[in-house]
C-alpha cells in the first residue's frame, strides 16, 4: 500500500512540472486555432463564428462537441438568442456601455448554468464534457454554458442482483442520473454529494455521497483522502476506483461493496456508509463493506423477516458448500473412508472402478471444465450462450461418465458446487469462493481433512486481519457486537432494527424512535394505557 502511494506522489510531481495553463488570448482566431490544433482538428468539434450587436461589429465564436450537447438547447437558447433576439431587443445603454461581454453574460444568455473560463485548458475540458463555450473578440474570458445532453441508456432494470420483490430501477452510466436516483429516494438536506474529477486523461467525475450526521466522519475523510491520492490517467469504471482505494490488495475478498441498485445503495447510505459514484459506470461503490454484507440481498428487507432469515441461512450453507464440497469429497474418499457409511462407500467405490485419475485430478478436470463453460456462457452472445452452456454441461458430464473419465458422484459434487456458488447475492464475492475452492482441493488432496481444517483456520485468520476503511471485516461477528446481531445472520422484524451498526457509525445510533402501531384495540382501556 505504502509503495503504491509513493508511486502516485512521484507521478504527481512530474505531472506538475510539465503542465502550464495557457490563458485565453484577446485575439479570437488565435484562440480558435489553438483549440483546433489541440484537438487535432477533430471532426466532431463544431466551431461557429458570427457577429452580433446592433451593427454586427462584435465577433463571436461558439464551440461545442457534436453529440455531447443537447442540440436543441444550443440552437434555441444560444444561437437563436444571440443571432436574432439580441438585435430585436432594446437594451439599455448602461448595459451596452459595460461592453458586449457583460451584456451577453448578464442579459442575453438564457441558459441555467453559466461559467466563466480563463484558460484554454479549461475551455477544452468543458467543450469535451459537453458544454458550449462562447468566445468574444477582445476578451480574456470565455463564457461556458452547460448544454450537456447526450444519448444515454436510460434507467433500466439492473442485470445483476435481481430481486423478485422490490424496486426494479438500476443505475445508468450517467453520473447525474445516478445522483438523481439517490435523491429521489432520500429527500433529505443531509444527503451530501461532492464531486471531483479523477484521471489525467479521462477526467472522470467521481461523486462521494454520504448522509451528513449519520456517516462516520472519519470514514468520509478517509474516502476523500484515498480518492485524492489516486493519480491515474484513466478511470473507465468504478472497478478502477475499487481497486485503487481498497485496504488490502492481496486478498481474494472484496472489501468494497458494489451495486447496481439505487435502493441497496440508499439503504447503505442510511446505515451510515459512504457511496462512491463514478461517471460512466452503473456500479456504485459502497464502503465500508463487511463480510456479512455479501450474504445480504436488498430483498431481505422487502420480504418477511422469518423468510429472510431462512434465506440468509441458506446462503451461508451455500457458501460452505461452494467452498468445501469438492475438497471434502476428495478428503473423504482418499483419506477418511472410515467416515463414509459402508453402503455409500461401496457405491462410491464401485463408481470409481476403472476411473483412471486420482480423485484430485478428476475433480480438477471437472471444476476447470465448469469454469470454462461458465466463462464461455458469459462471453457468448445471449442467444447462443445459454444453449451452448447447457448442452456443453450435459453432453460433457454425461459423456465423461460414460467414457469412464470421471465418476458420476463427481458430477454431482461439481454441479452442487456450481449451483451453490451462484447463490451469493454478490457476484464478486462468488468469484473469491471459486478461487479459494481450488486451494482447498489441493490441501484436501495432500493432508485430508487436516489440510482443509488448517486452510479454514488460515482463511479465518486472513478474514479477521482484513479491514474495510478501518472497520474490521468480520464485524459484527468478530469483534462480536451483540446489538448488531439483529441484522447479521438473522434478520429481525423491522421493529427490532431501530439501531445502526456500531462500528460503522459511532455517534448516530438510533434510526428512529417510535412505537409500533397497534391495531385499534377493542377494549378502550388497554388502548389508553399504551
Amino acid at each position: 500500500m505504502k509503495k503504491l502511494f509513493r508511486l502516485f506522489t512521484k507521478k504527481e510531481n512530474s505531472e506538475q512540472t510539465e503542465h502550464q495553463p495557457t490563458p485565453i488570448d484577446t485575439d479570437l482566431p488565435q484562440n480558435l486555432t489553438y483549440i483546433k490544433n489541440s484537438l487535432g482538428e477533430s471532426t466532431d468539434i463544431v466551431i461557429r463564428k458570427f457577429k452580433i450587436g446592433e451593427k454586427r461589429t462584435v465577433k463571436i465564436a461558439v464551440v461545442y462537441t457534436d453529440g455531447l450537447v443537447n442540440e436543441s438547447t444550443v440552437h434555441e437558447s444560444l444561437l437563436e438568442t444571440l443571432m436574432s433576439d439580441v438585435r430585436q431587443t432594446q437594451l439599455s445603454k448602461q448595459a451596452l456601455n459595460k461592453g458586449m461581454y457583460y451584456t451577453v453574460r448578464d442579459h442575453v444568455l438564457t441558459a441555467g448554468e453559466l461559467d466563466e473560463l480563463e484558460t484554454l485548458d479549461d475551455v477544452l475540458l468543458h467543450v469535451l464534457s459537453g458544454d458550449t463555450v462562447l468566445f468574444l473578440e477582445g476578451e480574456t474570458k470565455a463564457l461556458c454554458v452547460s448544454t450537456r445532453g447526450w444519448q444515454d441508456r436510460g434507467v433500466e432494470e439492473p442485470s445483476t442482483q435481481a430481486v423478485v420483490r422490490g424496486p426494479k430501477d438500476g443505475f445508468t452510466e450517467t453520473l447525474r442520473t445516478n445522483t438523481a436516483l439517490l435523491r429521489r429516494k432520500i429527500k433529505d438536506p443531509n444527503l451530501w454529494i461532492t464531486t471531483q474529477a479523477i484521471g489525467t486523461k479521462t477526467k472522470t467525475d467521481v461523486a462521494v455521497v454520504y448522509m451528513n450526521g449519520i456517516a462516520n466522519e472519519k470514514i468520509v475523510k478517509e474516502v476523500h483522502k484515498r480518492l485524492n491520492q489516486i493519480n491515474i490517467d484513466s478511470l473507465l469504471d468504478s472497478g478502477y476506483v475499487e481497486e485503487l482505494i481498497q485496504d488490502e490488495t492481496y486478498t481474494p475478498f472484496p472489501t468494497v461493496y458494489n451495486s447496481e441498485r439505487p435502493d441497496s445503495i440508499a439503504a447503505g447510505l442510511l446505515e451510515g456508509r459512504v457511496a462512491i459514484i463514478v461517471d460512466g459506470s452503473p456500479f456504485v461503490l459502497l464502503v465500508p463493506a463487511l463480510f456479512m454484507q455479501f450474504f445480504q440481498s436488498p430483498e431481505d428487507y422487502y420480504q418477511r423477516s422469518d423468510f429472510a432469515t431462512l434465506v440468509r441461512l441458506i446462503r451461508f450453507i451455500a457458501f460452505f458448500l461452494a467452498l468445501l464440497t469438492p475438497s471434502a469429497y476428495i478428503a473423504l474418499t482418499t483419506y477418511h473412508q472410515e467416515m463414509i457409511p459402508t453402503s455409500l462407500l461401496i457405491n462410491l467405490s464401485s463408481q470409481r472402478e476403472g476411473v483412471p485419475f486420482p480423485a484430485l485430478v478428476e475433480a480438477l478436470i471437472m471444476e476447470v471444465t465448469f469454469e470454462i463453460l461458465r466463462e464461455a456462457g458469459v462471453r457468448l452472445p445471449k442467444a447462443v450462450g445459454s444453449a451452448i452452456s447447457i448442452v456443453g454441461a450435459l453432453v460433457l458430464g454425461q459423456a465423461a461418465v460414460e467414457a469412464g473419465l470421471v465418476s458420476s458422484a463427481m458430477i454431482i459434487v461439481v454441479s452442487l458446487t456450481a449451483i451453490s456458488s451462484f447463490v451469493s447475492p454478490s457476484f464478486n464475492f462468488a468469484i473469491s469462493i471459486r478461487m479459494l475452492r481450488f486451494l482447498f482441493m489441493i490441501l484436501a488432496a495432500t493432508f485430508g481433512l487436516f489440510g482443509i481444517l488448517l486452510g479454514l483456520i488460515v482463511l479465518a485468520l486472513h478474514l479477521a486481519s482484513l479491514r474495510s476503511f478501518g472497520v474490521p471485516y468480520l464485524s459484527p461477528l468478530a469483534p462480536y457486537i451483540t446489538s448488531d446481531q439483529k441484522d447479521t445472520i438473522l434478520r429481525f422484524p423491522r421493529w427490532g432494527l431501530l439501531t445502526r451498526q456500531r462500528l460503522i457509525n459511532q455517534k448516530n445510533i438510533d434510526r428512529e424512535n417510535m412505537h409500533k402501531p397497534k391495531p385499534t384495540s377493542r377494549s378502550p382501556k388497554k388502548g389508553d394505557s399504551s
Partner: protein, 400 residues
C-alpha cells in the same frame, strides 16, 4: 511487502504440499473394503481371514455370475504379520475400517483371545462398532465363506440379523469390543460372546448356487452365547440359558416368551415389551447374598388354550404363573452357570465392588473360588398390560 511475503510463503507451501504430499492417500479403487474378519489358531500362529467386498458386484444393477464378496486367508506368527501377508494374495490393500463382524474360531477362543484384542484396538484402522462373535464348533474361516441370500454381503447379514434379533429375541446379544475389553479387564466380571454357527453343508454354502436356491440350504445362525473365563471360552449356554442370562443382565428389550397353560392343554405366548433387572447384594455373616429382581411387562400375543381372558382374576393368575415359571428358569440358569462354568458372567463380583468396595477388597482374591458357592435368588415378576386386538380366544370346534 508483508502481503507479498505471505503470498509467496503460502504459494511455496502449497507447492511443497502438492509436490510432496499424499502420503496417506488411498484412492477408493486402490482399497479392498473388508467387512468381515475371521481369526483362527494354527500350529504356529494365527490364520487371518478377511471377507472383502467386490463393490462392482454389490452395487451392480445387472445380475452377474460373480460373487459379491471374496475371502482371502493368510497365516502368520502374529496377526499383524498375517495381515501384511495378505498383500501378496489380495490385489489391493485391505482396508479394515468398515469391518462389521469379527469372528473368532472356537479353537482360538478356547485358547484365549486377549492377544488378538490388543491388535484389534491398537491398529488405528479398526473402529469400535463391529460385533464380536465366536464361530461355534468350527473355524471362523469356514463361516466367512458362506454366502447368504437377501443380503449380498455375508458379514452384513450376520451384523443385521444380530442387530434385529438382539432387539426382538432374547437369546442373542451384541458384544462390541470396548464392552468386551472392559469386562475382561475389570474385576468380578466375566464376558460372554455370542456364537455363530452354520446350518447345512459348508461346501455348498460357499458356492453361488446356495443363494440361487429359494430356501438357501446353508445359512448362518446367531442364537447362542459362549461363556468365557478371563479371555478363554469355556462353554456354551443353550438357548434357554442364554435367554435367562439376558433377562438377568437386563439386556432384553423385546422378545416372545412361551408358557404352558396351567392345568390345560395348549400354550400362551407373551410378547415381552419391557424387561428390567435389579441386582442387590447383602452381606450376612461375612457371606454375600445376591438378590436379583427381574420385572417383565408384556402383552398376550398368542393363546392356544381355553381360558377366560376377560376376567381380572385370570390375568392375575396368569401373571403369577408366568412369574413362577420364569423364576424357576432363572434360578436354574444361575445355578447351572455356577456349577458348570464357574465363571461370574453375571458380574456379581463387580456388583460387590461397585456397592461395597471395602468388603470387596477382603474377598477380591478368593472371588473366583467363592463364586460357585454364593447364594443367589432370582425373583421374576410378570405384568400383563394388554391382550392384543381380540379379547377371548375363539372357540373353534375341533374335528376329532
Amino acid at each position: 511487502m508483508k502481503r507479498r511475503l505471505l503470498l509467496l510463503s503460502f504459494t511455496l507451501l502449497f507447492l511443497l504440499t502438492s509436490l510432496t504430499g499424499c502420503w496417506s492417500k488411498r484412492e477408493l479403487d486402490e482399497i479392498a473394503i473388508a467387512t468381515g474378519l475371521g481369526l483362527d489358531k494354527t500350529e504356529n500362529g494365527y490364520k487371518f481371514t478377511v471377507q472383502i467386498i467386490n463393490p462392482a458386484e454389490v452395487a451392480a444393477k445387472t445380475i452377474s455370475t460373480r460373487t459379491a464378496v471374496t475371502t482371502y486367508t493368510s497365516e502368520g506368527r502374529s496377526l499383524f504379520e498375517a495381515l501384511r501377508g495378505l498383500t501378496d494374495k489380495a490385489p489391493r490393500k485391505v482396508y479394515l475400517s468398515h469391518i462389521r463382524k469379527v469372528v473368532f474360531g472356537e479353537e482360538l477362543a478356547r485358547d484365549g483371545i486377549s492377544e488378538t484384542l490388543d491388535f484389534l484396538t491398537r491398529d488405528h484402522e479398526f473402529r469400535t462398532d463391529f460385533h464380536i462373535a465366536v464361530a461355534k464348533g468350527m473355524e471362523a474361516h469356514d463361516l466367512l465363506t458362506i454366502l447368504t441370500p437377501m443380503e449380498k454381503i455375508p458379514a452384513n447379514k450376520m451384523y443385521f440379523s444380530m442387530q434385529t434379533s438382539s432387539e426382538y429375541w432374547a437369546p442373542s446379544l451384541i458384544i462390541k469390543i470396548q464392552q468386551l475389553i472392559s469386562t475382561i479387564l475389570e474385576d468380578g466380571k466375566e464376558p460372554v460372546i455370542s456364537g455363530v454357527y452354520n446350518v447345512g453343508d459348508i461346501k455348498r454354502g460357499s458356492n453361488l448356487s446356495n443363494v440361487e436356491d429359494v430356501g438357501a440350504p446353508t445359512d448362518v445362525r446367531v442364537d447362542s452365547l459362549g461363556v468365557f473365563k478371563g479371555d478363554q471360552l469355556i462353554g456354551w449356554m443353550d438357548q434357554l440359558q442364554s435367554t435367562s442370562y439376558n433377562y438377568i443382565m437386563g439386556n432384553v428389550k423385546n422378545t416372545a416368551e412361551y408358557f404352558e397353560c396351567k392345568d390345560k392343554e395348549g400354550s400362551i405366548t407373551l410378547e415381552v415389551m419391557e424387561a428390567s433387572s435389579n441386582k442387590t447384594v447383602t452381606i450376612k455373616d461375612g457371606e454375600p447374598h445376591f438378590n436379583v429382581e427381574v420385572s417383565v411387562e408384556g402383552n398376550i400375543a398368542d393363546v392356544e388354550c381355553q381360558i377366560d381372558l376377560m376376567k381380572l382374576d385370570t390375568i392375575k393368575q396368569l401373571e403369577k404363573h408366568f412369574s413362577e415359571q420364569l423364576s424357576i428358569l432363572f434360578n436354574d440358569t444361575v445355578s447351572d452357570v455356577q456349577e458348570d462354568f464357574k465363571s461370574d458372567v453375571f458380574g456379581f463380583g463387580d456388583l460387590i465392588h461397585r456397592t461395597k468396595p471395602k468388603y470387596w477388597r477382603t474377598i477380591k482374591d478368593g472371588w473366583e473360588e467363592q463364586f460357585p458357592e454364593v447364594e443367589v435368588t432370582v425373583e421374576a415378576t410378570v405384568k400383563i398390560n394388554r391382550t392384543g386386538t381380540i379379547s377371548n380366544p375363539y372357540e373353534f370346534k375341533k374335528e376329532e
